[in-house]
Amino acid sequence: MNNIRAIAKKEFRSYFISPIAYVFIVVYLVATNFLFFQGFFIINQADMRNYFGLLPWIFLFFVPAITMRSWAEEKKVKTLELLLTWPVSDLEVVVGKFVASFCLLAIVILCSLTVPITIMLIGKPDLGPIIGGYAGSFLMGSAYLAVGLWVSSLTENQIVAFIMGVVVTFILFIIGNPFVTMVAPGFLVPLFNYIGLGNHFESVGRGVIDSRDILYYLSVVGFFLFLNVRSIARRKWE
């Protein structure tokens, strides 16, 4: 547990040593606020449905940007060779890195609380879907992070890690979209609907926090962290 904390702390700090975290926070807030508020006053409804509708797409590009460096850089600079000879298990390192990236994402998401506050000042929104939407953002963001971290562990090139991260999360997202499920073979549709990263977000976003959705996201996180551990351990039987 101490090891996980030490790794997470160090990783989290390194986000803020480079300008990456600040750039990330500012660009994220500007982009989401702009995209949301440009339609907000036209529709003239005090809710955040459109905001949460944007998030899966925004995350698609922002989350791999958080995770792209995590493993790729360690492999490139070869610090991994030293890190994995310290008395820490592979799992602890993986979890530590995940926790650090989650903390950064959490800060970003919390910074966006200005949006519901603004809406509450000018109208009377229904708080249920907003709370649900935020809970969903954390869950969906975690799943994206786990995917991004795994992809980063497959390469030593950050750019490749970013692009592959976008591609893999996009596939996982689009797979449950009607766009795909309409043309997919019938027997695969329920599976695709279940796997699709976005589908569960929508139901959480309606303000219905279903344990099945929570379980879904937690298992996606667990699955990709597991793949991550495997890909780090691959050095052992190569």
């Binding site: 101490n2 090891n3 030490a6 790794i7 702390k9 160090k10 700090r13 390194s14 040593i17 480079s18 600079v77 070869k78 610090t79 991994l80 060779e81 030293l82 994995l84 000879t85 310290w86 008395p87 820490v88 298990s89 050095r235 052992k236 190569e238």
Partner: protein
């Protein structure tokens, strides 16, 4: 928990590592005694780093066992790691961190209490000559200082076994001397494995040397033992003034202990002669007497013993 003091610090048995079809390390066995500075020598690509990676539990061996102070690397992986301090080749460090931050992080990972961590960091900064550098960003340090930070990192938890992989590569001559002296000082109290492809590095610091080539051990012993086995016996070179080269060759050849005599073409009136002797006995006097008795004159007689460099090239050629 630790094994009796007379048992070896590290014992490697029948160790092999294959990467697909490539046999990086082939069935090597050796022991490192406690308190020894052990030189692990070999040309680039001989399997040095692979062996070190196995000892440090980064990768497991294909076959064979590694026991560090009584603990098997396969079964007691995490316990072995606490005993080892490792400086990989080129000192890979987190470039965005400050020196002090980095050492604190390593101390934390090594499970040290904050109080002890702080005092150890101070000590390491002293020992490794990092005074005044703790507030610097690692990425902006010179190579020599990076190497020192790497050393500090490896020693912060006071490990029983210190493994240094090419600690002086890429340094300038002054830095090499500084790092070498540092290692000598460390070697007074610790068991050190020093990997290098440069022989003079290792012979200056190590009490035992192991030479590895193409994944196999080709020689092992103290520097003087290795030198002795370099060439059998000694070589003498002489410049002799004599009318008949063939007579010189025949007479010298007849001396007991001389195995081969070759006479070159005369230059400035002198014949260059190379004499090879079988045994490691000094034949200079006998040779001199023989030359004088025959009425030749001598301008030079030199006894050459093989250098460690010769041993190394001989053993690792091809």
């Amino acid at each position: 928990m630790s094994a009796p003091s007379n048992s070896p610090m590290l014992s490697v048995k029948d160790l092999s590592k294959h990467f697909g079809d490539v046999k990086a390390v082939r069935n090597i066995s050796f022991e490192v005694k406690k308190g020894e500075v052990f030189g692990f020598l070999g040309p680039n690509g001989a399997g040095k780093t692979t062996t070190m990676r196995m000892i440090t539990c980064f990768i497991p061996p294909t076959t064979g066992t590694i026991v560090v102070d009584g603990l098997d690397t396969r079964q007691q992986d995490l316990a072995v790691r606490t005993k080892i301090g490792y400086l990989p080749e080129n000192a890979p460090l987190y470039n965005d961190m400050l020196v002090s931050e980095y050492l604190a992080f390593v101390g934390e990972i090594r499970g040290m209490e904050p109080g002890r961590r702080a005092s150890r960091i101070d000590e390491m900064v002293q020992v490794c000559g990092l005074t005044g550098m703790t507030g610097r960003q690692i990425g902006k340090l010179s190579k020599g200082y990076r190497q020192r930070v790497g050393l500090a990192q490896a020693m912060i938890h006071n490990p029983d076994l210190l493994i240094l992989d090419e600690p002086t590569s890429g340094l300038d001559p002054n830095q090499i001397v500084q790092i070498r002296n540092l290692i000598k000082k460390i070697g007074e109290e610790k068991t050190v494995i020093y990997c290098s492809h440069i022989l003079s590095e290792v012979s200056a610091t190590c009490s035992t040397i192991l030479i590895i080539n193409n994944g196999s051990i080709v020689a092992q012993g103290t520097p003087s033992e290795l030198m002795a086995r370099a060439t059998k016996g000694n070589r003498y070179t002489a410049r002799i003034k004599a009318a008949d080269g063939a007579a010189v060759q025949a007479k010298l050849r007849s001396i007991a202990g001389v195995s081969e005599v070759s006479v070159g073409a005369p230059a400035d009136g002198y014949l260059p002669v190379v004499i090879a002797a079988e045994a490691d006995v000094d034949l200079s006097e006998t040779l001199f007497k023989c030359i004088v008795e025959n009425g030749w004159s001598l301008s030079e007689l030199k006894r050459e013993s093989a250098s460690l460099e010769d041993v190394f090239t001989q053993l690792t050629r091809g």
